[in-house]
Symmetry: C2
Subunit: 652 residues, 2 copies
């Protein structure tokens, strides 16, 4: 009979349960055992070696269509990369770059000749690629990239060029060492017969950068980013192009093409819409990064929880034993809400992956649905990555000096995931994007607008804010409709009340954001000042939206659990999650009369109460995360001197 922890794992595993189970078993291969070295050469070689093992297992085929040489299970592709994050984040990122970003660009922006030429080879690692989007001067605002791809009709080639120091491709994973080809994002400049040469906006090109011996090709200058905050196994580098010529066919031409004579054509007329359609097909990267951050957070939290269940400090009176850390209320308060949030986010992530998978497999998917997917992916990437940063930091501190030793794993988890709040979209920029989509009801027009302009647009469409339940709509509606609320403490544990509070906050924040914007635009002369006046409000509205989506996913997740004991634990966890979110923004709820003074005080009592009721189940809850056996890799949990880990962490 399955244990409660196994029921929790099964519920949390969701639709791609089998993929997760398979990966768990694959990761027990000693070649995937957690290791640590800051030595770049060693770490990079190890990550590449691990990728080759994965490739030999056919690991990457899921991400590619069957007629391109894959198996076409998009959801499985995302989930299996997320699972790698539990073993090693350098491996996860390097695999994500090769198969998700580089491979994804070929798969989604390319056409048959590209699929034929590259997909099989990149799956098998016969071709190592990198994804050269970010430049030194532009990361968040990729429409303003400066690299140029100028079409020369006399030779039928594009000339790839870096015209300024700030146009240098920067922080590109794989560019320092292993990649021999890059998918380069550049301004496509061309002219048809009799036309003026002009930029048609940013497009993606396949550009060889290295020969088989690893030397830069003529006109290409790569350099090494060297040491980073973490991710030593990822060879991030920089690329400058000096008039590098590539065949016309190297334009990934699914959404736009250039004819031999230089004539530009695209099925999408509006240049902004075209660009964001292309970008939209690359949403997988954002989903993967969020999911992987969530996975790493679960590992960190598990380590700290298990440590708190073995470490004792200070005597209690009337007892011969020192007190377990986990028995201190404050220790519970540090970790249990993070466990609750991890469950919440994973349920939301599962829904996101399913939505992505379904849209990916539906040739007639509704464009509005796609926009919503992109917004959701952005929002959950923000939530998951900030959660990881916060949770792993807390885990490190909760383990004291032992937490600071590399052999106990937490410091590398923290260092490696730290950049996740930045890459695949800076969290502040993404949160703004979430708000933008909500405020403008996913209107096509706003794509490509700068922040000020879309906010001005939003003002004219205020009132159309789209709100719909994001999961298991029927269940959620019933819970809200049948809630029985009163002013007693207990009602804060009422799921319907919690949901209503989350909804009310989102609604109010969004509508007031729009209204304040309107007011500011009347008052301020400078449109930027008007935008800036409400920027913080807009970001908070986005956060409120994300919180609501996550809570709804948690509720739906509980409903999917078949075991009553596990379900009861999930319900308590969900309370803890909901109350923690309310507590963080408690002043807002009070200011807006959603919480009386008396009830506000009950929030903290409720949190403490749930911490106490969940304490006896702490071990079960983290076992429920389903971290693969051996993947914790924390010496202190196996007793001092675990050779496998320590050997790698002592200087030679």
């Amino acid at each position: 009979m399955a244990s409660t922890a196994e029921h929790l794992t099964s519920t949390l595993d969701g639709r791609w349960k089998e993929v997760r189970e398979r990966t768990r078993s694959e990761l027990t291969d000693p070649r995937f055992a957690p290791h640590y070295t800051p030595d770049l050469a060693e770490a990079r070689a190890k990550a590449l070696e691990q990728m080759r093992v994965l490739a030999s297992m056919g690991y990457a085929a899921d991400g590619f269509a069957a007629d391109h040489g894959g198996t076409g299970d998009a959801g499985a592709a995302v989930v299996s990369i997320e699972m790698l994050a539990m073993s090693d984040l350098s491996l996860m990122v390097k695999a994500g770059v090769q198969w998700g970003l580089f491979g994804g660009a070929i798969e989604n922006l390319g056409t048959k000749p590209h699929h034929d030429a590259y997909v099989k080879r990149l799956i098998d690692l016969d071709l190592l690629g990198c994804y050269a989007m970010t430049e030194t001067g532009h990361g968040s605002d990729v429409q303003e990239l400066e690299t140029t791809a100028t079409y020369d009709p006399s030779t039928g080639e594009f000339v790839i060029h870096s015209p300024t120091p700030s146009s240098r491709k920067d922080f590109i994973g794989g560019a320092a060492q292993h990649a021999t080809v890059a998918s380069v994002f550049a301004q496509l400049i061309t002219a048809g017969p009799g036309e003026e040469r002009e930029s048609k906006g940013v497009h993606c090109f396949v550009v060889p950068i290295r020969d088989d011996e690893g030397n830069d090709l003529p006109g290409v200058s790569t350099s090494d980013c060297g040491y980073k905050g973490g991710l030593p196994g990822v060879d991030n580098g920089r690329i400058m192009f000096d008039q590098v010529r590539i065949p016309r066919g190297n334009l990934l031409n699914r959404y736009a093409d250039v004819a031999e004579d230089g004539t530009y054509s695209s099925p999408i007329e509006n240049p902004n819409k075209r660009f964001f359609t292309m970008l939209g097909t690359l949403v997988r990267g954002r989903i993967t990064v969020g999911g992987s951050a969530g996975a790493a957070a679960r590992v960190g939290i598990t380590i700290a929880t298990k440590y708190g269940l073995q470490r004792r400090q200070f005597n209690a009176p009337k007892s011969d034993n020192e007190v377990l850390l986990m028995d201190y209320l404050v220790y519970q308060r540090r970790l249990l809400p993070l466990i609750a949030r991890s469950y919440a986010l994973q349920f939301a992530q599962n829904e996101l992956v399913a939505k992505f998978h379904d849209i990916q497999n539906d040739p007639d998917a509704d464009p509005q649905e796609k926009r919503e997917l992109e917004g959701r992916a952005a929002g959950l990437k923000v939530a998951n990555t900030w959660h990881a940063t916060r949770a792993i930091q807390e885990a490190r501190e909760a383990c004291g000096g032992a937490g600071y030793m590399a052999e106990n794993r937490l410091t590398a988890l923290k260092a490696d995931t730290d950049v996740f709040t930045t890459f695949e979209g800076d969290n502040h920029v993404l949160a703004q994007l979430v708000a933008k989509e909500l405020l403008t009801a996913y209107a096509d027009e706003v794509q490509g607008m700068n922040p000020v302009d879309w906010m001005r647009f939003a003002v004219t469409t205020v009132g159309d804010v789209v709100k719909k339940r994001t999961a298991a709509q029927q269940i959620l509606q019933t819970i809200v409709d049948t809630r029985q609320d009163n002013e007693e403490d207990g009602s804060l544990f009422n799921r319907g009340t919690q949901m209503q509070m989350f909804e009310d906050r989102e609604d109010y924040m969004l509508s007031t954001a729009a209204r304040r914007l309107q007011g500011a635009q009347k008052r301020e002369d400078d449109p930027f000042d008007a935008f800036n006046f409400v920027q913080d409000h807009v970001l908070r509205a986005a956060q409120a939206h994300i919180d609501r989506v996550v809570l709804e996913a948690f509720v739906a997740g509980i409903d999917s659990c078949g075991d009553e004991t596990a379900k009861a634990l999930l319900n308590d966890l969900c309370d803890l999650y909901a109350l923690s979110v309310i507590d963080e923004d408690k002043a807002w709820f009070m200011e807006h009369r959603h919480l009386s003074v008396e009830r506000a005080k009950a929030v903290l009592r409720g949190i403490n109460e749930r911490c106490r009721s969940l304490r006896p189940h702490a071990e079960t809850l983290v076992e429920g995360f389903g971290i693969p056996e051996g993947a914790l890799g924390s010496a202190m949990l196996d007793g001092p001197g675990t050779d496998a880990v320590r050997m790698a962490t002592v200087p030679r």
Copy 2:
């Protein structure tokens, strides 16, 4: 004429301004230029080399009494080590271990023979020591250390021994490689003629551990902690003792001695009081760690602020330029409150150092004053180190991908300071200690009590909570007395109102903590449960106290500024600090009717207003921190390709 920034620096430098200026100039020596390598051998060698340069400048003499071979300027000693934190945290920690901890133990716990034998040599680095207090099993609760020092009257020796695996000395800086001698904390076991042998509690002993070739001495087994989260230049290690014999004279015997026949004697009768008197003399370490964390935070914030003043992203309408990051409200909100808090904490740190210095130089210092100093040191260590963790993390994220590159310095600042929340006392344990001292009115009896027992004691003394203004009492009282308060927004900018709010919160939290404890003890059968029931409340009370102390120091600091322009900036910064603290705990103020709903909404408006008014002065404010020239060490601020930094950060 001095610039506004110079006036700010001068005000912030405080009483040891000249020491700070001298160190600034010393740190421009290229041998102290920021560098980065994760290679342990290289980093350790570099840190030791830098220490030898410092020693040759007579850097360490300040920390030791003139008749021991020093110059006896305790404040200068703390300040000069704090300054090192701006250059390199490994150096700061290694210097702190040698001269502050190891040296401090000899200086403060030893007597003339020890001073004669060791002080001059350790100042000059002819003797390298380590401070072997923490064990694998006990870090926070050092009274329970397991290492034994058993006196053998037949030979006149102490036998130092590690009886269990958990008694292993752990995380000891210097123990892995460089130290040849350790100050070892161990249970002193002895018996006078006719007495039963028993432990007299933890005492400190000088124990040689290595010969001149670096080999472990007989009976000593050292090992290397290997890679850590940061601080690669500090050689942390472990030590096990197998019946190691040392002469009787190696007991640091200022507070207790053992006669040749084994008779134990001490001028302090109560064993707890004796132990905490000894520990109390080591308060310098805690002060130094807090101050250094604050210094590192200022470096990180300065880097992010300067980046925000050069980096542009996204076009604004009606403008050819992209927008400077620092012009976005949300960017201001991320950094300016951290700048404000850095000023606040540094003013508080300056007062702490002055108080420490004066007490150190006063042979008749009031024991109550000493206790207060220890409490203040603990509180500010907590505040400064959590501020550093949070501020440097925010700075990293604010610089995006560039922030993740080692050559831009932020990742090492974060990694190196991460353990500061742990060492010299875990922050949660220290916060509890602050509350304990306040709740028990610094009563002697509570020293050495476990948390449960002191809380029970506190209940009986409730009402005696000591509250006195911590700085410039007259000025502060005048401000509070003359405040004119009303319910308008503006009054939140009234300094007297702010101070009153901070005071009221502290008073209320402390008195209710005591009352709740009383209630819980009547209700709960198990005293631990009663303690646990209010543990979170107690920690919040400590935080409220620390906040009040810091605000008062800020106000006194402003008063010490002689320049009107600088003073006006400091006043705005102080508003921003006060409002940020109120905002973080806004729900509490509302719940307890110290803030009406309308006024609560004005807090955020006030914060945004101060961000806007301080924005034009962002550069001046960080220049005011007085980071030594060249000590930022951030390649992106000097333009790409700054050789000095980059060379060290690219793999060879």
